[in-house]
Amino acid sequence: MSAPLDLALEVSGAVKRYGDTSAIANVDLALSGNDILALVGPSGCGKTTLLRSIAGLHRLDEGFINIGGKTVDDSRRFLAPERRNVGLVFQDSMLFPHLSVAANVAFGIRNHDRSEVKRQVAEALEVVELHNHHTRFPHELSGGERQRAALARALAPRPSLMLLDEPFASLDANLRIQLRRHVVGALKATNTPAVFVTHDQGEAMATGDQIAVMRRGRIEQLDIPYGVFHQPVNRFVASFMGQAAFLAISNAANGPSTALGPIETQYPNSSVAMLRPDDVVFIPDEHGSAIVQHTEFRGLTWWCTVELAHGEQVLSTRSHIDPVPVGTQGRVELTPGHRQVPIANEQ
């Protein structure tokens, strides 16, 4: 089986069953260049199973996987993980506790020339900015340093694909942001394509060049971050990626429209309009028919839940310097330049 050489990863028709349930059901995806693909989805959606299939920790029941143009898993052949040339980073660093950081990083380097190994170790630790930690042992590192060391270890053998399974999940919020810049920087610097599993939508959008949103073993949408957030293919993707309000579309004589005005929709039937909180402006007006039901302070902005005349609700953000009390009457409008996004009304 030959695959286009520029594809770093190609998964096609992948199925993995556990008993009667399909952990992954007919997944296709492709990754090229040095792209980072973020796999997101609710827990149990199959994202980790998919990652493990790519790593070779188990075999697919159907479909095939190519890594760097080489078939590693199909009905006829199955390449053991040690022969796939992929790097793996887990939530907990999984550094070998009885080896120093340098020995951990050297672990996967196949080279008989000692000085060359040493050079590669130094290089890998340089990339993750741990050059002063060669002789430390894993228990002497902080959580973030451990994850960086784990990344250095996985990068050192120059893998053709990096696989990261919730690599920041065990760290606190501020460290996560810092570390993910580090990791993305290191992956780009070494020109390594990667698949990155996370349950955090924000992290996925900040990290991925591409995002695959998974549900019940299937990829619901594979797109650039802007696409999955602002042009979701269905209601599940829309609400999974971030908070949104959905308004019914009615077919009036002058075309389809919602409570916020006319809308262009490519879906003839059963579609709704998605509105992100920043798409809606609330204008206080004592004659208005909309009422502020609830407000929530989010730091940069206020998030207001506004009930419209006929009972539908929308979310609307306001500047932190411009709060409105609950019960304020007013009207809602589309933010200038924004539009209502029609999406398939499927849960």
């Binding site: 993980p81 040690e82 790097g87 793996l88 887990f90 999984m94 996985a154 053998p157 893998p159």
Partner: protein, 573 residues
């Protein structure tokens, strides 16, 4: 490992040799883990399978003869002994576990871990010490008669009752250990809740704690019954002829392999009944399954007479099960060392010790290697390997006489098979040889090695193994560079457990030992059978000393965990 020429030949274009050799290694590692683990399972199960199938063609004559003579009595004895010992151990073990967990009294913390000390006392040693001290010719009865006249009544020690007491005093720690662990890990929270709902301590214990302890108690009692079933030395001292004694008698007197094996299937049947009982008692609950780690029971302080009674109860159990017999052995050993007829015995002591340690060492090595293979195979192999692992552990649930006769049958079959291709083994290999002994010991004792290596391996996350694999290392190299260094403590623990079991072991070595190969346990047994109790003291002490090692390790663990509980208690306050 397979011979290299069994592997498919691979064309080796020059210059690509390295690539091809990786492919070859890969091919081996893909099937070698399941294969090796199934091979281990096969070797372990074969003797038991041979024995079980020997009943298919029973020699009716033997059975009829046995049935007419000893068999009914032996069956009755076995059943009475099993019931007596399990009831005794259950009551004693549970009471002591409850006493040391739920109450505070002078020494309660110390007793908590010290009460397992009788595990270091082989039954046959306590058996002969008891007989010599309390028996008709012993000092106690002599004194009794001097006080109250020659006809004064004294309970008959050499009896079923005496045997039951001796077994109970040595075996109760199995129930005690598991019950105590369950009390600490599981029942504590439920007990507190029951008390807060208005139940008194007794009612809470009966309605909430006991049902939760049931799986642990069932498991502990099953071990006690297995240990009782496997014994045929102690029961002989006490004149209680069980079916295990029957196997021994037939084999040693007639060397009739088939008759002895068929008889051993009876022992196997009893073992299966015990396993079945344990399953039924356990119900759908699992031992060690907790609904989250709950706090232990808060011990309540006892005062005055009740505190004294508790201390006395624990002290007596310990004294009878361990300290008094040990003290007696030490006294005898010292007395003998000074006397004339001690010299020849002491000279041979080193030889016996050497035999015991050699046998134990070789067995431990075999067991740990097998354990490393099957435990790692479960991680690298396919799903079938976990079944193989469980099969490999089956020997621990098979009584010694069964294993011994099974090995005799298996080796005889191998001998025959080799003979048919003109390669006969030397005759002794099949009946009594060092190899046969090591084989039988390994079948019986590989299970503790496997479970300790498995628990060591379980400390290494699957993800760590996966990381190592993705870094390009083959499973065998991962075992060598990651698994073994990280699990070396558990390897050592496994080896120690096997060594201790082997040094203590008596039934198998009595059945299978090659002529002239005497171990400490055989020597002890022989001297004790001839009522030369004082001379038996030295080897018996040596066995107790070896057995103390793991018991001390276990005690320290128990003590540590109680310290931890105390710490967390004081933190939460």
């Amino acid at each position: 490992m397979p011979a290299p020429d069994m592997l498919p030949r691979v064309a080796q274009p020059s210059g690509e040799a390295k690539v091809v050799s990786i492919g070859l290694a890969d091919r081996i590692s893909n099937w070698s883990w399941p294969t090796l683990s199934w091979l281990s399972a096969f070797l372990i199960v074969t003797p038991v399978a041979f024995l079980a199938t020997s009943i298919i063609s029973p020699s009716t004559e033997v059975w009829r003869q046995q049935w007419d003579t000893r068999l009914p009595g032996e069956l009755a004895n076995t059943i009475i002994l099993l019931i007596g010992v399990s009831v005794g151990s259950l009551v004693l073990g549970c009471s002591l576990a409850w006493l040391t967990s739920a109450y505070r009294f002078p020494g309660s913390k110390l007793f908590g871990w010290l009460l397992i000390a009788p595990l270091a006392m082989p039954t046959y040693v306590l058996g002969f010490v008891t007989l010599s001290v309390l028996g008709f010719t012993g000092p106690i009865q002599g004194w009794w008669r001097a006080q109250f006249g020659a006809e004064a009544w004294f309970p008959d020690i050499r009896s079923m009752g005496g045997a039951i007491v001796v077994f109970t005093m040595v075996l109760y720690p199995y129930v005690y250990l598991l019950a105590r662990a369950a009390l600490r890990d599981q029942a504590g929270g439920a007990y507190s809740v029951a008390r807060s709902l208005g139940a008194g301590p007794v009612e809470a214990a009966r309605r909430v704690v006991l049902p939760q302890l049931r799986p642990a108690i069932a498991a502990g009692t099953a071990i006690v019954m297995m240990e009782t079933l496997t014994d045929f030395a102690t029961v002989q001292y006490f004149d209680v002829n069980t079916i295990s004694v029957g196997v021994f008698r037939i084999w040693r007197h007639t060397f009739d392999r088939d008759a002895a094996s068929e008889f051993a299937t009876l022992v196997l049947a009893f073992a299966l009944v015990v396993i079945g009982l344990e399953r039924v008692l356990r119900g759908r609950a699992r031992f060690g399954e907790a609904g989250g780690k709950a706090a232990g029971i808060m011990p309540r302080a006892l005062h005055g007479g009740r505190a004294a009674a508790a201390t006395i109860a624990c002290t007596s159990a310990l004294a009878v099960g361990f300290f008094l017999p040990t003290a007696q052995l030490i006294v005898w050993a010292i007395q003998r060392a000074g006397s004339d007829n001690a010299t020849p015995v002491t000279e041979r002591f080193w030889e016996f010790l050497q035999n015991s340690l050699l046998l134990a060492g070789v067995t431990a090595t075999v067991c740990v290697v097998v354990a490393v293979v099957v435990a790692n195979a479960a991680r690298f192999g396919n799903r079938s390997t976990s079944l193989a692992t469980r099969l490999t552990s089956v020997g621990y649930a098979v009584p010694g006489p069964v294993v011994a006769m099974g090995v005799v049958l298996a080796l005889a079959a191998i001998n025959e098979a080799l003979g048919s291709v003109g390669l006969g083994l030397p005759g002794v290999v099949a009946t009594g040889s060092f190899i046969a002994l090591v084989y039988a010991y390994s079948v019986r004792f590989v299970a503790p090695a496997i479970s300790s290596v498995e628990s060591g391996l379980a400390q290494i996350p699957m993800e760590m193994t996966a990381s190592a694999r993705s870094l390009g290392l083959r499973p065998a190299r991962i075992v060598a560079r990651i698994h073994l260094p990280l699990a070396k403590t558990s390897l050592l623990t496994g080896a120690v457990l096997v060594i201790v079991d082997s040094v203590k072991e008596l039934p198998i070595v009595l059945l299978l030992r090659p002529f002239g190969l005497d171990t400490l346990s055989v020597w002890t047994y022989n001297l004790a059978t001839e009522s030369r109790f004082e001379q038996a003291a030295l080897p018996a002490l040596a066995i107790v000393a070896v057995t103390l090692i793991p018991v001390a390790l276990l005690s320290r663990q128990l003590a540590d965990s109680s310290v931890q509980t105390d710490l967390s208690d004081s933190v939460s306050k």
